[in-house]
Symmetry: C2
Subunit: 241 residues, 2 copies
């Protein structure tokens, strides 16, 4: 069987023998951009049922139909990790979402904090970035991007059984060591440029399930901090072990 | 004393009482963009002598003079870590250089590999990115960006006492655990899109001082891999401990 060179996320049930109709953008991408045609094989995943190679059986300018072959990979769910971050400039926010999908977060929560400059996000555009990153990195799961929420509201309703790895710029040295003892439901909190406010830091430090960590002696940009924090978490508590 | 809001790298000796003349671009940045004037204080560093607050004593459109006050921070040298990476698309190459400065690499070595698409870099532009990142992250050191080199030539002259943390996409599971036992001179090797070739992988695996590591079950883009690898290294062997 030919190895699929293209991976495509589809919001459609998948299974051996299942046919899948493409939408206009997908047909344009496969047949216009990637120059595929009838008989070519593409890898499909839908975030729920793993990955299936699928053969093109109809290829049109604006539509197309594929038929799934035997499952090539089972669904690999990421660990139960939320990435909560304060949106920054557009390109760097896009970057954080891309990295969250690659690094294996389950949910992406934009949050506004006292020092957040950007109070608006395009949730649909960020979700599209997460999908593209999942297609690229070989993931079979796409993290959900949820609506922007104020950090104080988020903490008001914070679940008792979800731990917070809190990346505290002001912290040098006295960081906690992460361990699995606190459970397997986690969230990483990344502040905006300028960090969390004193009030926000105090509130997080007072929470039993918040664990302050240090990301070294230099001040990292939020996008760098997100990748570094996810690396630390995945090594100890996630699926990199 | 007023806290300096602006940090500026200058290629000039620094010391208490030392006057520093600005070049045209620096004068434009401080007085045109940042709207500073005589009496304002800027933090200067030169990568060799730590950080000094400096007061503006002359401010012109195309020139300016500052006088250093008492040293505010000593030089903090990063660990002896080289980041060796295969250049990718322009924006992502810029990003890798920025991240190397933030994460604390000492030297940035672009290298061309069998699967490298981009065979040319603008060394001066990348060096400027490293400077800007050092200004931003509070570092007192700027990693040197050296000229692009072929990976095979680089390995032909590889120093015996420098270990290689080799990020092997094809590796799942059997990764080595990094320890300080191998010494404190290291390099991280990040491949291009498509990874290292079989020949390159075989050569690295055959080297006594190359240590293969895995960056998790998803395929990371080169820019993500660079940050993740530097995080792993800094936690165990660098200055994050």
């Amino acid at each position: 069987m030919k190895q699929a060179k293209v991976r495509l996320y589809v919001d459609h049930p998948l299974g051996q023998g299942q046919t899948v109709s493409l939408d206009r953008d997908q047909a344009h991408y496969l047949f216009g951009v990637m120059r595929l045609g009838v008989g070519d094989v593409v890898a499909l995943f839908n975030g729920r049922e793993g990955e299936f190679p699928a053969r093109v059986i109809e290829a049109g300018k604006r539509k197309g139909v594929l038929e799934c072959l035997e499952q090539s990979r089972p669904l690999h769910m990421p660990p139960d990790l939320w990435l909560c971050f304060a949106p920054i400039k557009k390109a760097r926010t896009d970057f954080i979402v891309e990295k969250a999908a690659e690094m294996g977060a389950a949910l992406i929560q934009p949050m506004s904090t006292e020092f957040t400059n950007s109070e608006r996000i395009r949730r649909d555009r960020l979700q599209a970035h997460a999908i593209e990153a999942a297609e690229q990195c070989g993931g079979t799961y796409v993290p959900e991007v949820v609506d922007l929420m104020r950090m104080d509201k988020l903490l008001d309703a914070w679940p008792d059984d979800r731990q917070i790895m809190f990346c505290d710029e002001a912290l040098v040295g006295a960081a906690e060591t992460l361990t699995a003892a606190s459970g397997h439901r986690w969230a990483i909190f990344i502040g905006p440029e300028g960090g969390f406010s004193d009030r926000e830091r105090a509130r997080l430090h007072a929470m039993d399930n918040a664990h302050p960590v240090s990301l070294g002696p230099r001040i990292l940009r939020a996008d760098t901090a997100a990748v570094a924090a996810m690396t630390m978490w995945q090594q100890v508590l996630g699926d990199w072990g």
